[in-house]
């Protein structure tokens, strides 16, 4: 069994290495036709850019995407600069340089990868999936009978912030930086999922399609791990199935199929304000222009946030969203599960959490308020601040850096819920409802707690669960996403997630159940 696991690990690493090295393989050449296409599609009027492209780029073969992109970007930037100086605003190319470069690179690559998309799919995704499963599945036998088997987690360099963890951290952060800020470098990765994208939406794969597909693959493989690890725990099995379903069907398949039918790309479960650009003017315009379905999406998006989300939180706690439906939560609960013990449980972290997460909520609401004001009034900005600027700052700081680079990149360092705990504005909103108006709580089983600390250690949200359990107090915390792992790892059956009457839900106790009845009455009623 150990051999199978080792071979699996080997195959996985080979797949990963090939995947990584793809960036450096291949050749790129812009043909006059491609340039013509871009000029027409984008309506480019800058003769400076066109000339510069013709003399420096077109017809030349580049052997890597870095110099190729940078020569195009410098052409673009030089042209823009001069146009701006001369106030030739209609000639300025307003696209984000790297996204712009991506589109050209996507059409200009050639060579072995583009010609053998499926072969490279198998060499990367195929080997990675096969290897990972060979590593994961033998756990059924290797780890012993069903039950909590967290043996050695704190001795393992992958899960105790050891060197493996740091390598994974570097890889993940690197991946997100490329994905968000240098898509033109990772065109080769998108080639290998082109066939799948074409089958779904009819289009070639963008970097976002690549990300969505990779996301689904990673979640599926790591869900297998969850199914094995928690095969004795039906709550975990159902929860894992649910997040997997919503990711694959709602976040991946339905939006792609919508595009196939020339409808707007929309993830029906992605609620504002997590879906922070829902009220951006381009989205509103697109929805309104898309007829009945667009209008339905517009109304659905508003009803989801204003009615469905809070009502469901009232009945079931925020877990219905955060650990049963949400995509970010889905990745955290599958890929992130091995890292849950790394979350910071200190009081300081809790204080930071409250400032940050509510700060982001205020930020997103302000931004949306400004945006809507500008949309309806036609003004460019509010109080002298351009809405576009606020949107750009939010998109960069929160949407990309916080949610992606830090949120996922830091899994092996700060645990798997950094974004959900410190950054997600939707989680902040759900948390307020959960804390003050909900039937959900984690019930503490009387006086059974032995303060061992497994619950706190494995709380991905960094809640000091034990602090409540050892006082016989129910856990009613706004940040709890109801993953149920505290209950699973408790050796004494102390914790139970449940929905019940609001009365008695918050039950601070000084003297625990089991002691003198009179003393309990005396002290607890004071």
């Amino acid at each position: 069994m150990k051999h199978i696991q080792n071979i699996g690990l080997g195959l996985f690493l080979v797949g990963l290495s090939i995947f990584t090295s793809l960036i450096f393989i291949g050749k790129y050449e812009v043909t006059p036709e491609v340039l013509e296409n871009i000029i027409n599609n984008k309506g480019i009027k800058s003769e400076l850019f066109i000339n510069s492209m013709k003399s420096n780029v077109v017809g030349k073969e580049f052997s890597n995407p870095f110099t190729f992109s940078s020569s195009m970007i410098s052409a673009l930037e030089t042209a823009n600069e001069s146009h701006k100086q001369n106030s030739e605003w209609d000639k300025v190319i307003w696209d984000k340089p790297h996204s712009f470069a991506y589109e050209i690179v996507k059409q200009s690559g050639n060579g072995i990868i583009k010609e053998n998309k499926w072969l490279f799919w198998w060499l990367t995704f195929g080997l990675g999936i096969l290897g990972a499963l060979m590593y994961i599945i033998p756990a059924v036998i290797v780890k012993g009978p069903p039950g909590i088997k967290n043996n050695g987690i704190w001795f393992n360099a992958a899960t105790n912030r050891g060197w493996v963890g740091w390598l994974v951290f570097i890889f993940l952060v690197g991946f997100y930086l490329l994905l968000y800020f240098r898509p033109s470098y990772i065109v080769n990765w998108t080639y290998i999922v082109d066939p799948i994208s074409e089958n779904l939406s009819g289009n070639l794969a963008s970097q976002w399609f690549l990300y969505g597909f990779l996301y689904c693959v990673v979640m599926t493989v790591m869900a297998v791990r969850m199914y094995i690890k928690y095969r004795h725990n039906k709550y975990q099995i159902l929860r894992t199935t649910s997040v997997l379903f919503f990711q694959i069907v709602f976040a991946f398949l339905i939006p792609e199929i919508l595009v196939r039918f020339e409808k707007p790309w929309y993830d029906f479960k992605n609620a504002f304000p997590l879906d922070y650009d829902f009220f951006f003017s381009w989205n509103l315009d697109q929805l309104i222009a898309s007829g009945g379905l667009g209008l339905f999406i517009l109304i659905w998006g508003i009803v989801l946030t204003v009615v469905i989300v809070p009502v469901m939180v009232y009945f079931f706690g925020k877990r219905w969203y955060c650990s049963w439906v949400c995509g970010c939560g889905g990745l955290a609960e599958t890929l992130g599960d091995p890292y849950r013990q790394l979350s910071d449980k200190s009081l300081k972290a809790w204080k930071l959490e409250r400032w940050l997460v509510h700060g982001v909520l205020v930020f997103v609401l302000m931004m949306t308020g400004f945006t809507l004001y500008a949309y309806f009034s036609g003004a460019e900005g509010v109080l002298g601040i351009k809405t576009q600027t606020i949107q750009d700052i939010y998109g960069f700081l929160i949407g990309s850096i916080f949610a992606g680079v830090i949120g996922t990149g830091f899994y092996p360092i700060f645990g798997n819920r950094v974004w959900c705990r410190f950054g997600c504005p939707l989680a902040a909103y759900l948390g307020v409802v959960q804390r003050f108006k909900s039937r959900f709580r984690i019930t503490t089983n009387g006086g059974q707690c032995i303060s061992c600390g497994n619950c706190s250690t494995y709380c991905e949200q960094g809640i000091d669960v034990r602090a409540y359990a050892q006082k016989g107090e129910n856990i009613v915390r706004s940040s709890c996403v109801g993953c149920g792992i505290c209950s699973a790892v408790c050796p004494r059956g102390v914790l139970k997630l449940e929905n019940g009457p609001e009365k008695g839900r918050i039950n601070p106790t000084e003297i625990l159940l089991g002691n003198d009845v009179d003393l309990m009455d005396l002290v607890n009623q004071k």
Binding site: W154, Y235, I450, I511, L512, L519
Partner: protein, 447 residues
């Protein structure tokens, strides 16, 4: 300002300190030789198994003590001068107190076995024991086999710990079946099977005769009394129970038996000295409880109680209904009320076991009055509050079964067995109990 000194920073001493702080502004000092800060002893096993780091076993962050004005002193008390209310430490320094709470806990039993003090022979109680375990049994290269002597809760935990590092374990149990002085046969056998299925070499009815030494004074084998068999090993765990740690009072006039003798107010024979937790011995037994109870929550309850007394509200220690819990490898165990190993004359039993042999419940009730006396539950979690109320109200066994859905505390979506259980009871007892639907109202006692 009155100075309260507490010897021992375990759950009893720390609970007392916390509650005294809540009730008063007295000066509080906790003395410990074992660790700088309070940690949860019950969690040491998870540190060895790699589930947690030692710091995770500390329920309070390090700033907690200063913030709550609880002074911590590291030192070993050599002598208590009760005349002058002064503690003498091995380093020679002194500490005076106005009131003293002794909460020194337990130490592992050693019954005079030859070789019991060799290297590589130890109990599992203190932080130091954990550290030694890392020396003598860090992996299965250094420790090719371990022998555990004594089949109680700590013994089976130690077996699970060593097993988690793939160290072969031989488990010597004096009784004819695991823990059958406490558990009825059926449950005891169920746990025997669980131990064996984890690959532990379980030896029932086996006593330790002696531990043999190698040339370096380290344990190399054990001899079994009954068979004379020699089992070679690199580590011997002594887990034949614990007894009160009363070493510090050898030269004082505090009255001791097995532990520090206390009355119902947890007062010793010296007027300003109290004893709580594992080290306290009740002069009169409380209900069916033993005079010495080395249980986590009783230590906590005594701490809660003594704090009242010290802060001017002199109250008796009156523990409520018995309950407890443990985990045997993958099988969780909870008990509420009393289910003796052997039924008493007035008692009848009802036993249900799941076909997997990993879950069972055992109910004890009075066959004349039908009053519910207690329940053992294995592999099914149940609600403490439910049974506490049942016991206080002296409800019948029929009432318990009727409302069994309200007792369940397993995570949501778990399979429920109440129907099966009640059907079995009905079939065996010619009754017609109808299982009631789960009622939040009853569970949370909302009126």
């Amino acid at each position: 300002m009155e100075h309260i000194v507490i010897i021992g920073n375990g759950i009893s001493g720390v609970t007392a300190a916390r509650h005294i702080r809540k009730l008063s502004a007295k000066k509080i000092t906790i003395v410990s030789a074992e660790s700088d800060y309070f940690f949860s002893r019950t969690a040491l096993m998870y540190v060895y198994m790699g589930h947690m780091k030692f710091e995770h076993t500390q329920p309070y962050e390090n700033w907690f003590w200063k913030k709550n004005r609880i002074d911590l002193k590291k030192g070993y008390v050599e002598n208590i001068d009760t005349e002058n209310s002064t503690l003498h430490f091995t380093e020679g320094d002194l500490l005076t107190y106005d009131k003293l709470i002794i909460a020194t806990g337990s130490k592992p039993n050693k019954f005079g076995w030859p070789g019991q003090d060799l290297e590589g022979v130890q109990g599992l109680y203190s932080k130091q024991d954990l550290e030694n375990l890392e020396v003598y049994a860090p992996n299965n290269k250094v420790c090719k086999r371990a022998v555990i002597v004594g089949g109680g809760l700590i013994g089976i935990e130690l077996a699970e710990m060593l097993h988690s590092r793939n160290i072969p374990v031989t488990f010597l149990v004096r009784e004819s079946s695991f823990w059958n002085g406490v558990l009825p046969n059926k449950e005891s056998e169920l746990i025997n099977r669980e131990i064996l299925s984890n690959g532990i070499d379980l030896r029932l009815s086996s006593n330790l005769k002696e531990i043999k030494s190698d040339e370096n004074g380290k344990a190399k084998s054990v001899i079994i009394e009954e068979t004379g068999e020699e089992i070679f090993c690199d580590f011997v765990g002594l887990t034949a129970g614990v007894s009160p740690n009363i070493d510090i009072v050898k030269n004082s006039n505090i009255e001791t038996g097995k532990g520090f003798k206390v009355n119902r107010y947890l007062e010793t024979n010296i007027s300003n000295i109290y004893a709580i937790g594992d080290c306290a011995e009740q002069q009169e037994a409380i209900g069916n409880r033993r005079p010495i109870e080395a249980v986590w929550y009783t230590g906590r309850m005594m701490g809660e109680t003594v704090a009242q007394t010290i802060c001017g509200n002199r109250v008796e220690y009156k523990p409520g209904h018995w309950f407890n819990s443990a985990k045997f490898f993958d099988i969780e165990y909870q008990t509420y009320g009393w289910v003796w190993a052997q039924p008493k004359d007035n008692e009848a039993r009802f036993y249900w076991e799941h076909e997997s042999s990993k879950k069972c419940i055992h109910i004890n009730y009075d066959k004349n009055t039908r009053e519910f006396i207690g329940i053992n539950t294995f592999g099914i979690r149940m609600r403490h509050e439910f049974f506490d109320k049942i016991l206080s109200e002296k409800q019948t066994v029929e009432h318990v079964l009727e409302h069994l859905t309200n007792a369940n505390f397993d995570p949501e979506f778990y399979k429920l067995y109440e129907k099966e259980i009640v059907a079995k009871f009905n079939a065996e007892n010619n009754t017609n109990i109808q299982l009631k639907k789960k009622s939040w109202k009853r569970i949370f006692q909302v009126n």
